[in-house]
Symmetry: C2
Subunit: 429 residues, 2 copies
């Protein structure tokens, strides 16, 4: 206390939120025990035993924090505290997912479930019942690591975007239909439509950054100004298979030569455009894939992202012009289909302002930045005001057992989330 | 006859060889019935039923031509006519292989077995017993299409390059050991060492060109001056897997970006160097191969060929400099292993001269050129004088059911082979 004692009447100081990094660390490590994989990884596909154990752990923590809990019919776990003065203002929802990549790390998704529980626990303990209703959600599925087309199954259900057909057409890598897996796990498929929510005003998702920007800047947290727009091109180039020895270079129609030129160019285009433009070629398949045969066909993906709608279109136009020019010059047939088409999602400006103000008042070292990754928040932004918070990732790693976030940074994330929630739910805003 | 009748005493005219294209066509079509695949393809893996039927057909034709036949312990079929004045001069051997790609075409290999039978048949019918011994061989295996490391199993046996270990370590795509497959087929593995020949003076292999050069020049046949040198680089580039959205372009260590730059450059290097330099990237594997993940590792092959020993080394040096420069600049770890390392094989200059002279005397439209493909002749050149003959390929296609050679061109190939054999075996040379 000492010389600071005189500030006790200051509202900023009275709401100062101190979170113990050791507590955050303990929650992270306990959750990571469910599906522990190797020294630091987790392996937690949706609807598996480790996943059930993790969701039950989350439910227990929610109850310890003072929340009323429930499971819905896709396996999302919800915790709720009803506001004292809630009429017509809609719910403030915060959460993320607890399924993982195979293997994944301890932080992706999990940190966005743990931090709300700790933040709400702190708020309820210090300030009692909020004016507005707060809910915390642990979404069942985000990574599509067991069912490749599940596409954010948990938040899809909340958006009312799961159809009866999806229950049969969403199939696991092992050939299981998601509906059958869910029924075997005890879920009532007829209750899925009732998961849809129309009373959510605000959705807040805290997540690890998954990139190196905050670490390089030496800043623990950020308020996310928007989520990038993303498009996947699934591109097929067809030329003519030829003998690698007998066919002279000047008479080839080699789709690999065209692919290499396109890949170099699209990567350089995004690089030259500057941050936050990104373009990635992560998947390729060659036919017939023989060392001594000029390929007949090369398939590859182009993942291209930008959070600004106009600049995103410019990036796509340049990529498409490159594909066209290279293939026509090299006499290569080309075609593409689009996948993962997601428009940019702008964070609600008032919410960004609230969290920036909260961070400033708390004395938290913070910045603002766009998200280059897609999250449950994308889908939630379709029917609620949305904002995300980032916590620094060590070495910018994610989707790997190597991902790591310092407990001190995670604790600052809890503090930022709690301070913003306090402003939103306790009447400051 | 008319005004040409006065030339009857000219030795060139007396040895003029006329081959009926319809006869050649009939042999090609009959052999193609064994393992027929689709409208124009063949599917004839070594030691299969279709392969046995084809080798028996070849043996019958050899006997009809007047040759004494035998099978050896790997399944090569041999036909022989002993020379009247053979002492110490060594055998003149000609042949190719009858196994196929899966599927392959009717001509690759098969034409080099059929044409010697027809050529020798013509010579024996017209000129009787030769001065020197002639043998015709139908090698059991060249394509490695059933056993990926069989590597010219038939000519390997003749070179004495099959070890006991090879019988267990050469394994089919279905996991069968070649020794066990051979035993089940009735071959005596203990007799393999005795296949080795040290009495072969000359090996002649006629083959389809497999490229477009003769067709573009409008020439049916060529005498091959040498077989290209070939090297396969099996190259692995390692960078760092990263999130395709969250990792800025300027901080990536993307092995796909490096691979694309290397592939573009090595292809352009060979193209700029000019014919007959070739470089092909036909095989690639990406890890983890996800559309939204910057790859951790990219593996690909570089097949680079040149028939001139010094120029070949220059080509390889440029490729290796490219790999090194790109990977070091992009902070990518790289390593490679070498496969399919074959030095160039220069055709015996005296044999080239003999066949060029024979073509000229026969009035055959011909040229000389190197071979960009590797053949049984490569292995035979290690212990005998070697020359190859090419017959035009339609559209330069091979290793596909689409490969085609006009019967008229194949007949000119028979005439060229017969005329050269006549000069070599009947005492002219």
């Amino acid at each position: 206390m000492g010389e600071g004692a005189g500030d006790e009447g200051n509202p900023i100081m009275t709401t100062h939120i101190n979170i113990d990094p050791n507590t955050v660390e303990r929650y992270i490590m306990e959750l990571a025990e469910h599906g522990a994989h190797g020294a630091t990884g987790v392996w937690r596909p949706v609807y598996g035993d480790a996943w059930f154990a993790a969701q039950r752990q989350v439910e227990t923590w929610m109850q310890e924090a003072g929340l009323e809990t429930r499971w819905d019919a896709v396996g999302n776990v919800w915790g709720r505290v009803t506001g004292a003065n809630d009429a017509g203002r809609g719910v403030i929802l915060t959460g993320s997912h607890i399924d993982s990549q195979l293997p994944g790390g301890r932080y992706d998704g999990a940190l966005g479930v743990i931090t709300p529980i700790l933040a709400v626990k702190e708020l309820l303990a210090r300030f009692g019942q909020p004016e507005r209703t707060i809910e915390v959600v642990s979404f069942c599925e985000e990574e599509s690591s067991r069912f490749p087309t599940a596409h954010h199954w948990g938040s899809r259900a909340v958006a009312g975007e799961i159809s009866t057909e999806d229950l049969a057409s969403v199939v696991s890598y092992d050939g299981e239909k998601i509906g059958e897996v869910m029924q075997a796990a005890g879920f009532d498929l007829d209750a899925i439509p009732a998961i849809k929510r129309e009373d959510i005003d605000i959705f807040i998702e805290l997540h690890i950054e998954q990139g190196p920007i905050l670490e390089q800047a030496g800043i623990p947290t950020a308020v996310v100004t928007g989520i990038t727009g993303i498009r996947h091109y699934h591109l097929t180039l067809r030329g003519r298979a030829d003998h690698a020895g007998a066919r002279p270079m000047d008479t080839r129609r080699d789709p690999m030569a065209a692919a290499a030129e396109i890949i170099s160019t699209v990567i350089n285009t995004a690089h030259r455009m500057g941050r936050p433009a990104v373009t990635t070629v992560g998947r390729m398949r060659v036919e017939p894939n023989g060392a001594a045969i000029v390929p007949e066909e090369v398939y590859f993906t182009i993942d291209a992202r930008h959070p600004d709608p106009a600049t995103r279109e410019l990036l796509y136009a340049r990529h498409e012009a490159t594909i066209k020019e290279v293939c026509e010059r090299r006499d290569i047939e080309y075609s593409w289909t689009l996948g993962a088409e997601q428009p940019p999602r702008i964070s609600d400006p008032a919410l960004v302002e609230t969290f920036v103000a909260a961070a400033t008042e708390q004395g938290l070292n913070h910045t603002t930045m766009p998200s280059g990754a897609v999250h449950d928040a994308n889908r939630m932004a379709g029917f609620s005001r949305m904002v995300m918070l980032f916590v620094q990732s060590k070495d910018g790693r994610s989707h790997t057992p190597d991902e790591f976030t310092y407990p001190e940074h995670a604790a600052e994330g809890v503090a930022l989330l709690a301070a913003g929630l306090q402003k939103l739910a306790y009447g400051d805003e």
